[in-house]
Every structure is written in structure tokens, then in C-alpha cells.
């Protein structure tokens, strides 16, 4: 009954139900008029943040093997909890710009090789110590060390020297890189006292919440840090809690039953059902993540560009977007960049064209069926997507044979090993990062085996270019090259689909990662 009242009062607030109707319905539910009126006023009063209470999130992506060491964070739960207890050097703001956090100012030399970070005064760690330039430098040093096994090691290798002097940290790079500030926003780079060199998993940071309970794979609790430097903007709830719920049905049930206030990864196929639950709001927003089919450009038969083109033209993107993602996504265009990246340029959308596909297929001279490997874990709906692909390709005379691989071991045995399979990418924060991670000849994760020296040169040129217009032009040419000659078939970009329960306010849509780029627990509050 309370759920229904909540729902009705929000309908009034949204102007979809009149006040008189509301009071009538409330009376029918056995509620007295004064109480019903007070409900209404609380729904209408959507003013500033409310302090207090416990905000709980039920999230997929936590295991009993997780650690509080930021270097080792990989899945969603450590990521989201890390944003609660840790503070970053810089962060990407929801509108795609850079937001200075611990670094008050970031300056570059003209050749983009030397960068100076000025450290902000008066930021305090949970252990009472002040954040110094030495701490920042030590953090960066630790993540540049092979031994730390840091997820940020790939970018950090590009830093030659790290020096702290007074309030400044000076970084010298091996190669010029105009994107350095973006790289420093990597979620692994949580600043720790002495860089976490003494005890990497101590869980002491400068974020809005102190680690109170850390039970990997079960739950994590944070308690508001009284001396947080931006207490007016973040850290509204007295306590936040992350409960690990890896099962999708259990997660949804926990939100409906009110045990948690927000969940991540709502499955597209049930979004429309969840939407109708009183009190629940779906928070979907597009990001850089994409679902792909990848071909190895150096392995027969995919070493033939006509065959690759035929396969790119033989996929019905619209149908896949509607059936697999239920429309919660956007069309892909066979290069890994979309509007959520800075310096993005629109390129003509590739469409399903069986006739053209047939033409290229004939020209390639290939005969016989092509084996496509897929699995439930490749991306949600990957098996269905492969079947849709099989049918649309059949209309172009291309025979796809589908092999469903077990989820266990898919990322070790199939992805980046077999020549044609389904996969996904979470995306990166800049075009340079995305291309360097998976399209540079030397990249470990070049999962399309796209090895083109001319492309590598363009990546390096763009990286060193401080003039935005010129960079944008280079990125455009790179995108065209991947789109027309690469081994990537990218039918769709997915959306992050989170959901919040009743009374959760202050949600900020953020294109970078799910759960408001991980800040949902720190930025949201519970309405009284």
C-alpha cells in the first residue's frame, strides 16, 4: 500500500495526476486526508541534498577474491566502492570535460612531454594526514611498477620520471601525449598515503566515505568522512553500503523489495517490466561500451578485405539493436568511437545491404561456411545476436556456422585467440586510449590483429598534437580506416542501465561509466 501511495504522490508531483484525484485514491486506500497531504508535500519538495540515512546499492561484479588495492580493481563492485573511499587526481565530469580534484591545476609544456600537477591544499586522508605532492607522486610510481600488477600499468609505462617538489608533481613522458590528464582519471589511480606502498589494500583514501566493513564478495560499508574536502557536493548519506548480488533476478527482487536503493546492469529484456514497478526509476544513458564481432585480419579467410567488408554489410544492425538491446543502445558503425568521446566526428552510417555483401563475398572468392564463436558471457544476448547475424548473412548468401562456447574460459581460450568471435569492450575515456589499447600493432589486446604501420603513425601523431582541430582530423581518418579496412564488426553501442528505488534523489547522468561513473552512492541522497 505504501508503495502505491508513493507512486501516486510522485505522479502528482510529475503533474500526471490531480491533487483531488490523489486524495480520493488515498482515501480509498484507507489513508486520512492530513497524512495524504503530508505525503504530497514531501514528494513535491525536491530541494537540495538531504543529509543522513543509509544508501544501499546491490551490484553485480563482486567476488570473494576482490581486494581493496586500487591497482587490482577490475570489476564493478571494487570500482564503485573505490569511488566512495578514494579521491582522484583528476576526474572526468559528466559533461565530458576534465574536473580537477586533488590536482588544482594541470599544465603542459609546448611539446606535451612535461606536465606539472599543482596539488590542492587542505585535502585530508582518512588517517588524518594531509594529501601531499609526495603522496601523489608515490601513487603514480607504484602504478608504474610492474610488480604492482596495476590495471593502469599500460598507460603508466609511458611516464619516464615522476618528481615531487613542494606543492608540485612534475611528470616527464617518454613520448608526447596531449591526453595525459585523461589518463590520470583512470579509476585505478586512487591517491593513497605514500602511494599505498606500505600497505596497498589498507583502504585509506581521501574520498567521502571511510571504509568501515570490507567483506569481499559479500558487502562493503562506508561511513561518512567528516573532513571530506567537498562535503557539500558529495557524501550525503551517513552510511553507504554495497551488497554484492551477482544474480540478475535477485538484484531486481532486492530493489523491488526495498533491501537496496539502487542496482546496476538491469537486463534490457526486463527494463520495460521494471519500469512499471511503483517507485522504481530506470537510469539509462549511453556510454562508450560496445558489443562486437571480431575478425583476425591476419588469419584466413579474414585476411581478405572483401570478405571482411561482406561480413560487415551482412549484419542487420537495426534489427539487432531492437531485438537484443530492446532499443537501449545506439547503432554502431564498425569503429569503436561514438559521441561519448571528445573530438568525435560523425561518419556515414553503414547499413545492412545483402546485395553489396553478396558482391564483396563473391569477389573475395571464399567458399563454404564461416565459423563464428559466441557465448553467453561475450555480452548479454550474444547467442541471440549471433543467430540474428546468421540469418541476415544467409540472405546475402553467406553461410555462418555458430559455435556456442562455454562461458568458463571464454576470455582465456576463445577471445583474442580464435579468428572470429563475439566480444565486448567497455570503452575508454579518450580516443587515444581506445585505439592504443586495441588497434595499435604492438597492443596486447589487438583482438582484430589490425597491424598497420601507417595507422600506428597516425595514433602517435594525434597523441602529440595539441591543436584540437588537427587532432580531430587525424582521428576522423583513423576511424575511416578502421571502419573500411579493419576486422571489427560493431553492430551496436550498449547503454548502462541502472535503476533506483523510491526516494533516491540527486542522480547525475554520466556517459563514462555505469552508476554515474561510480559516484552514484556518493552523489545521491535519500529524500526524507
Amino acid at each position: 500500500m505504501t508503495n502505491e501511495l508513493d507512486y501516486l504522490s510522485r505522479r502528482v508531483a510529475a503533474g500526471k495526476l490531480s491533487r483531488r484525484d490523489f486524495l480520493g485514491r488515498a482515501a480509498a486506500l484507507g489513508v486520512t486526508a492530513p497524512f495524504a497531504n503530508s505525503l504530497l508535500s514531501s514528494a513535491a519538495r525536491a530541494a537540495g541534498p538531504v543529509k543522513g540515512g543509509t544508501l544501499k546499492a546491490g551490484l553485480v561484479g563482486g567476488e570473494s577474491t576482490n581486494s581493496l588495492d586500487p591497482a587490482l580493481m577490475m570489476t564493478q563492485v571494487p570500482f564503485a566502492f573505490g569511488k566512495c573511499w578514494g579521491e582522484m587526481i583528476v576526474e572526468l565530469s559528466p559533461d565530458g570535460k576534465l574536473e580537477n580534484r586533488i590536482a588544482e591545476e594541470i599544465g603542459a609544456s609546448d611539446d606535451a612531454k612535461t606536465w606539472t600537477l599543482k596539488i590542492r591544499d587542505g585535502i585530508e586522508f582518512h588517517n588524518g594526514k594531509t594529501v601531499t605532492a609526495e603522496d601523489v607522486a608515490a601513487t603514480l610510481e607504484r602504478h608504474s611498477d610492474e610488480k604492482s600488477k596495476s590495471g593502469a600499468l599500460g598507460y603508466m609505462k609511458g611516464i619516464e620520471t615522476i618528481k615531487a617538489s613542494g606543492k608540485e608533481v612534475v611528470l616527464t613522458l617518454k613520448e608526447p601525449n596531449a591526453d595525459l590528464p585523461y589518463l590520470l582519471s583512470d579509476y585505478h589511480l586512487i591517491v593513497q598515503p605514500n602511494g599505498g606502498k606500505d600497505k596497498p589494500d589498507a583502504g585509506i583514501g581521501a574520498g567521502p566515505y571511510k571504509v568501515k566493513v570490507n567483506e569481499p564478495g559479500v558487502r562493503h560499508v562506508g561511513e561518512r568522512f567528516a573532513n571530506y574536502w567537498q562535503g557539500d557536493k558529495m557524501g550525503h548519506a551517513d552510511q553507504i553500503e554495497v551488497v554484492v548480488i551477482n544474480d540478475a533476478t535477485a538484484r531486481t527482487a532486492a530493489l523491488q523489495g526495498g533491501q537496496v536503493n539502487m542496482i546496476n546492469r538491469v537486463e534490457p529484456k526486463i527494463v520495460d517490466l521494471i519500469k512499471r514497478v511503483p517507485g522504481v526509476t530506470i537510469r539509462n544513458h549511453s556510454g562508450p561500451g560496445h558489443y562486437v564481432f571480431i575478425m583476425h585480419c591476419n588469419t584466413a579467410p579474414f585476411d581478405n578485405n572483401d570478405l571482411r567488408m561482406a561480413l560487415k554489410l551482412a549484419i542487420d544492425r537495426e534489427e539487432m539493436l531492437n531485438k537484443v538491446l530492446r532499443g537501449y543502445g545506439s547503432l554502431g558503425n564498425d569503429f569503436p568511437i561514438n559521441a561519448s568521446y571528445p573530438l568525435f566526428t560523425e561518419i556515414e552510417q553503414r547499413k545492412y545491404d545483402p546485395d553489396k555483401a553478396k558482391f564483396h563475398y563473391k569477389k573475395s572468392g571464399h567458399d563454404g561456411s564461416i565459423l563464428l564463436r559466441t557465448s553467453d558471457v561475450a555480452f548479454p544476448g550474444a547467442v541471440d545476436a549471433a543467430q540474428l547475424y546468421q540469418q541476415s548473412a544467409a540472405k546475402a548468401g553467406i553461410k555462418l556456422e555458430i559455435k556456442r562456447e562455454p562461458g568458463d574460459g571464454y576470455w582465456n581460450e576463445v577471445w583474442n585467440k580464435q579468428p572470429f568471435c563475439a566480444s565486448y569492450w567497455g570503452g575508454r575515456s579518450t580516443q587515444d586510449q581506445m585505439y592504443s589499447t586495441a588497434y595499435l600493432s604492438s597492443a596486447d589486446w589487438n583482438d582484430t590483429r589490425f597491424k598497420r604501420p601507417d595507422f600506428d603513425k597516425m595514433v602517435l601523431a594525434a597523441r602529440a598534437e595539441l591543436d584540437e582541430a588537427k587532432r580531430k582530423a587525424i582521428y576522423h581518418d583513423m576511424a575511416v580506416m578502421v571502419r573500411d579496412e579493419g576486422g571489427l564488426i560493431l553492430p551496436m553501442f550498449n547503454q548502462f542501465i541502472d535503476a533506483t528505488g523510491p526516494k533516491v534523489a540527486g542522480w547525475v547522468d554520466d556517459p563514462h561509466q555505469e552508476l554515474s561513473n561510480g559516484y552514484a552512492l556518493a552523489k545521491c541522497w535519500l529524500e526524507a
Binding site: 564478495g217 559479500v218 532486492a254 523491488q256
Partner: protein
């Protein structure tokens, strides 16, 4: 107690220990046969030949398998289960809490399920072949036939989402009072109860019915005892052995078979712990959990055997 019974019991226990040793060999061999190498699994993509060699040396992977087996066994016997590869934590410490949680859930499920199953069995016998018997059997069999996850989801839908009487997720943690814990595990315990109920109930019914054919039951009836009194005083004590057997089997199932239920209800027990580490190919943890499950299973079976021996006069006084 006569000496043959002591001998029988001692034999059972010795057999159990032998069996456990055999299982430990099997577990060890099984994890060795798994494709891939532990060092490779730890280092993953970033493995270089040198770091692989170093780690192999460090983990003692260069020694022959039987030496590693005795090393492992020696550790287990002294309570040292090793450290988890994926997180570097001591396995024994992390398992302790998980095992306690699993036993807690199994205990409460058993407290409800066993008396309920036996009483339902007795009632079914009393009204055998009537509609009460058929109803009890039908419902119990139906609840057992459904897969656990289906029952789990049904319970969640009804009691957590629609009526919100119980929480949908059963996370338990330190600092929770007994009442809170019981409320948290209400739904998974109910799901487990429904799963094991029919087996025990049907076995109770069959065992007692078997005895009911005997001459002495007829005599009791002719003496004019009420139907329930006949069952309670004459039939049940003689049917106890097979009932204890099936109860023990189901108890074992409550401990080792809860993986699915724990995952659905997000209960931090052994099952969830095992699943997490299997996906990470964390062999030491999988070995340890496997061995604990085997030990629970074997010891409950020994108890069942011994109870059956003690309860059965023919076994107690062999000719």
C-alpha cells in the same frame, strides 16, 4: 553394548577414513588433470617465460605430483589448507566463517524439514491411500520435482517482492542478532526444506508401511490400540533405521548441495565461495572446499550406518 557392535562401528569409521583418503587422492588428481597450469592461471595474459619459471619454482610445481600430494595432505591434516591464489588470503580463515554460515542455514532448514517430513509421513500412513495421503505425497513430490532455483524465485516473488515479508537477499554478517539472521535466512531455508521434504517423507511412509504388514502390528490392532498408537509404539521404532538413513543423506545434501540456493539468495556460504574460486581457477581453494564437502558427506553417512546398526536388533545381535 556387546563387542561385535563395537567392532562393527570401528570398522565403519576405519572404512570412512580410508574412503576420505581415496577422495583426497581423487580431488588432487582431478585438479591436476584440469587443463592449463596453475602458474599460467595466476599470471594470465601478462606471463613471461621467466616469471612463469619463477612462480613454478615458488609454488613447488616442478616437484613430482605425488610429493606435492603428500605436502598438501600433510598441510590439511595439520589444519593448514594453504593460501588462496587469487587473493593471497589464508584459506582456513576465510572458509571458517563461510562454513559456519552454511552449517547455520543447513541447521535451521533441518530443524524445520526433518520433524515436518516425519510427521507428514506418519500422517500419510495413518490415512494411507486416502485423499490426505495423496495430497501430502502430491505436494511434496511436486516441490521436490521443481528445480531449486525455480522454487527460490517463486518464494522471492511471493514473499519478498509481492508481500515484502522477508528480504529477497540473505546477506548475513557479523553484528546481526539471531532474530535478524533468522529473518534473513527464512526464504533460503524454506526453499531447502521444500527440496528435501519429499524424499524423507516418502521414505518414512514406505518404511512404516512395510512394517505395517507384519503380524505383530495386526496383533496390536486386534488388542484395540488406536491407529496412531500402533504406528508410534510398534511400527515406527522398527522402521527407524531406513528413516535415519534417508535423514542423514538429506542432511548431507543440505550442506553440500546448497550451491544454487546460496547463489540465488546471495548467501555468503561455502557454495558461493566455491563458485567464485572455480571461475578464477583457484585450485587450492577448490581442493579445500571439495575435501570439506567430502568429509561432511562421508561422516554423515557413517553416522547413518552406525545409527542403523544400533537401531537394528538383527545387526546388533548377529547370529
Amino acid at each position: 553394548m556387546s563387542s561385535p557392535i563395537v567392532k562393527l562401528v570401528a570398522q565403519r569409521i576405519a572404512l570412512g577414513i580410508l574412503l576420505l583418503l581415496a577422495v583426497s587422492v581423487l580431488i588432487f588428481a582431478g585438479t591436476q588433470i584440469l587443463p592449463g597450469d596453475v602458474a599460467q592461471a595466476i599470471l594470465g595474459q601478462s606471463a613471461t617465460p621467466e616469471s612463469l619459471a619463477n612462480l613454478r619454482e615458488q609454488l613447488g610445481l616442478n616437484q613430482p605430483a605425488y610429493i606435492r600430494y603428500f605436502h598438501w595432505l600433510g598441510g590439511v591434516l595439520t589444519g593448514d589448507l594453504g593460501t588462496a591464489m587469487s587473493s593471497g588470503q589464508d584459506i582456513a580463515t576465510s572458509i571458517k566463517e563461510r562454513l559456519w554460515n552454511t552449517l547455520f542455514l543447513a541447521f535451521w532448514a533441518a530443524i524445520v524439514a526433518i520433524p515436518l517430513a516425519i510427521i507428514l509421513g506418519l500422517i500419510a500412513v495413518r490415512y494411507r491411500n486416502g485423499w490426505v495421503d495423496k495430497l501430502i505425497s502430491g505436494v511434496a513430490l511436486a516441490s521436490t520435482s521443481f528445480p531449486e532455483f525455480f522454487i527460490g524465485y517463486l518464494l522471492v516473488f511471493y514473499f519478498a517482492v509481492q508481500h515484502q515479508w522477508f528480504p529477497a537477499i540473505s546477506t548475513v554478517y557479523e553484528g546481526m542478532s539471531l532474530g535478524e539472521r533468522l529473518q534473513a535466512i527464512a526464504l533460503p531455508a524454506a526453499a531447502l526444506t521444500l527440496v528435501v521434504l519429499a524424499h524423507m517423507m516418502r521414505m518414512t511412509r514406505a518404511a512404516i508401511l512395510n512394517v505395517m504388514q507384519s503380524a505383530y502390528v495386526e496383533t496390536a490392532e486386534l488388542k484395540g490400540l488406536s491407529a496412531f498408537a500402533v504406528i508410534r509404539k510398534h511400527a515406527f521404532p522398527n522402521a527407524i533405521a531406513p528413516i535415519i538413513n534417508v535423514v542423514m543423506l538429506n542432511l548431507a545434501y543440505l550442506v553440500v548441495g546448497v550451491v544454487v540456493v546460496e547463489v540465488i539468495f546471495v548467501y555468503p556460504g561455502m557454495g558461493q565461495y566455491l563458485v567464485d574460486h572455480v571461475t578464477k581457477r583457484d585450485v587450492p581453494v577448490v581442493q579445500a572446499v571439495g575435501l570439506i564437502f567430502a568429509a561432511v558427506y562421508i561422516s554423515l553417512n557413517i553416522i547413518a550406518d552406525i545409527a542403523a546398526i544400533v537401531a537394528n536388533p538383527r545387526l546388533r545381535h548377529p547370529k
